[in-house]
Symmetry: C2
Amino acid sequence: MSELGITVKKSENFAEWYSQVVLKSGLADYAPVHGCIVFREYGYTIWEKIQRILDKRIKELGHKNVYFPLLIPEALLKREVEHFEGFEPEVAWVTMGGDKSLSEKLAIRPTSETIMYYMFSKWIKSWRDLPLKINQWCNIVRWEIKSTKPFIRNTEFLWQEGHTCHETYEEAEEEVMTMLEVYRDLIENYLAIPVIVGKKSEGEKFAGALYTTTLETIMPDGRALQMGTSHHLGQNFAKAFDIKFMGRDGEHHYVWQTSWGVSTRLIGAIVMVHGDDRGLVLPPKIAPIQVVIIPIYYKEEDKHTVMEYSIDVKRELEEEKIEVLLDDREERTPGWKFNEWELKGIPLRLEIGLREVRENKVTIFRRDLLKRIYVEREKLITTVVHLFEDIHKTLYERAKKMLNELTTEVDSLEEFKKTLEEKGGFIVVKWCGELECEESIKAETGATVRVIPFKQRPVSGKCFYCGRPAKYIAYFARAY
Amino acid sequence: MSELGITVKKSENFAEWYSQVVLKSGLADYAPVHGCIVFREYGYTIWEKIQRILDKRIKELGHKNVYFPLLIPEALLKREVEHFEGFEPEVAWVTMGGDKSLSEKLAIRPTSETIMYYMFSKWIKSWRDLPLKINQWCNIVRWEIKSTKPFIRNTEFLWQEGHTCHETYEEAEEEVMTMLEVYRDLIENYLAIPVIVGKKSEGEKFAGALYTTTLETIMPDGRALQMGTSHHLGQNFAKAFDIKFMGRDGEHHYVWQTSWGVSTRLIGAIVMVHGDDRGLVLPPKIAPIQVVIIPIYYKEEDKHTVMEYSIDVKRELEEEKIEVLLDDREERTPGWKFNEWELKGIPLRLEIGLREVRENKVTIFRRDLLKRIYVEREKLITTVVHLFEDIHKTLYERAKKMLNELTTEVDSLEEFKKTLEEKGGFIVVKWCGELECEESIKAETGATVRVIPFKQRPVSGKCFYCGRPAKYIAYFARAY
């Protein structure tokens, strides 16, 4: 098993541990293309689960799925100046079709605002066409110059991007906040990862946005990870793309816009936050397999008895819509299977041997606590359902504890730097909110403003860095 | 309504009729990128329906969804020579990342064999790793030099591509045929389009395949449309990519492979085959909205009565999982709504006015026959369910009739040319099966072998074109 299992400890070599878990659990593999991975079936199934949860919510809120072209003509991408400046360094350009050079180069979408909004200006005429609320699930390419990491930062990734147009600033703002809450619910209540919600600073907002709201959290190595964003675009793009409507007042107005997205990066966060020295630990709500059954017998004559009981248990679980796999491979020992399914992070393992059959019970091993319990067969379903809830809660609480431990409030630049070097994590400070100040902090320390939480307490006194009056409590960190 | 409705007849100007239906029904819009369209919500929802049907079948058959990179290094694309020669003319190339030229240009996938099989060679070691059965839903770019047409031929389109590896030739062949049958079932039993199933000729098979099986049909303008293909790749790619396994016999063997796919082209076929002079006509099983309810009242005092009854009817249909929309817009007249939903091809329209309420009945208009019936309220559900079946059958039979009318058996080149010019459609001939012969026919007439049907009758005599002994009954046509 040694070459199959994880050979380093999470606490000792986090980067290596992460790579091993991603590769060995079968989530992904490195592709022979700059910064790209293959989403293998196990990793892709987690994405499908996330998609199903989110797609349902997105549609319930009245958005419709669409699909826009992958390729964006350079002139369109340039229309909104700040947007182009923000994305230009990471655009992959198509310059040839067949053996011919193109007269205008085409960007592979780094995000779809520009190609979409060009079309919106054709479609929107009147207030009756508003709100326009669409979403698309697609691939995105950003030519990464920073070092890449599977799921966390790849040249190509998968995401959903929602785009909406509204009559008023307030309606757009409500949309921004509604979708941020949808994301929070997904991340906290399905992925079991606690997040800090708030606004981005001027220096960190989306290129072209009025303001950006975000969900941020801390990975076990002390680096921050942005989990999703929801942008109020104001009328910046509407003006660049001339998206106007005839209002209820009979006058022409520019629309107010939002865009919002989460990506396959979420899978990386699940691995980093919940994984342990044995490998993945998956929250039950997004585990491709929720329960694995291992039949255990040492004599051929016991096989029938154990298998019959195991198949029956499987059927019972399936009737309750629980995703279950009966591992009946004969070429593998039970111990080998235990290791493999622990590496793959299956929430519950049922061990069924002669004793279980004889006593009409089931041995249940929970992956999060690495503990066994022994339950009556008639309590199987209620126990499993209860354990799913308890595993989710345990994972969430454990992650919350880590988040708290990796959040440090400081008053001075000296403490800021010391915390950053020794511990990392979120560093909470009183801050002035000025662009110039955050740029200096970044240059001097490598830390950026991750989030200005919506939950603020009254702030008085001076900015920890520049001494100007403090405006906010802000969370800084080095980030992925 | 005139500018909203279709202004040409399908029988008089098919190309213009098609464009108008696609645009005005809201299926798609032209994008400002060479040969690309925007899949608008109505068109994309049809794709989602097709995906749901097919994805379920694909998974039931043991395939797993995955996602491979969009970009393929040139050297990989070149590994299988025939494959590269086939696709090279239509590859879009990425040559720049940010402001840097790439040392090796990257192809946007025109199909994913090469990038996938490079990985397969790393993953497959033993017969225990076989069969490997994966599928991916993704976007594809082929730089089209032929004229493009929404859904039918676009620079970028959406599809699924399945890829499998097997121990034996026979097992791969079984996979090829299983998936072909899945496609036939989808196309005939959900999209209501009859197809001819069979093999491709040497000249028309997939670049790099041993042989290609196909589903072909005829559009109302007499041109053939390939609806889906399933390829036996033999060991061609296995040898180019060195995909070997340790067999049960302890020896190393190359795997046997298949690949198969259908694309968003299917949406174009639905429009072309079933549409009429009023617009789209959608088969009930893939219609985004299956029933639209139009409340009809002329006095404000009747509104409450009619709306209450309409809402109640809606609820009843929804309880039966029927997808229903109650069009309660007050700014539009019932007549305007009739036209709009006919244009959008909704299978059934319920008209509910005072008379319906008073008599506890419902007026049902079926889109395919443009006919009304008047039914008891308590027979609503059984009638709707029956009508869905009958509409499907009617559409299928109508398409089958067209297919038969556009299929002509001929004996001589003279008749072949005459039929091709005057009528188009499938031209059925006795044919020798030689590559050289099909190339000459193509050069002389513009027609290609579309399919050599599996259902053959005993063939004797000479090839209609070259006079060599005839081997097959083959279907020729000019194709999209």
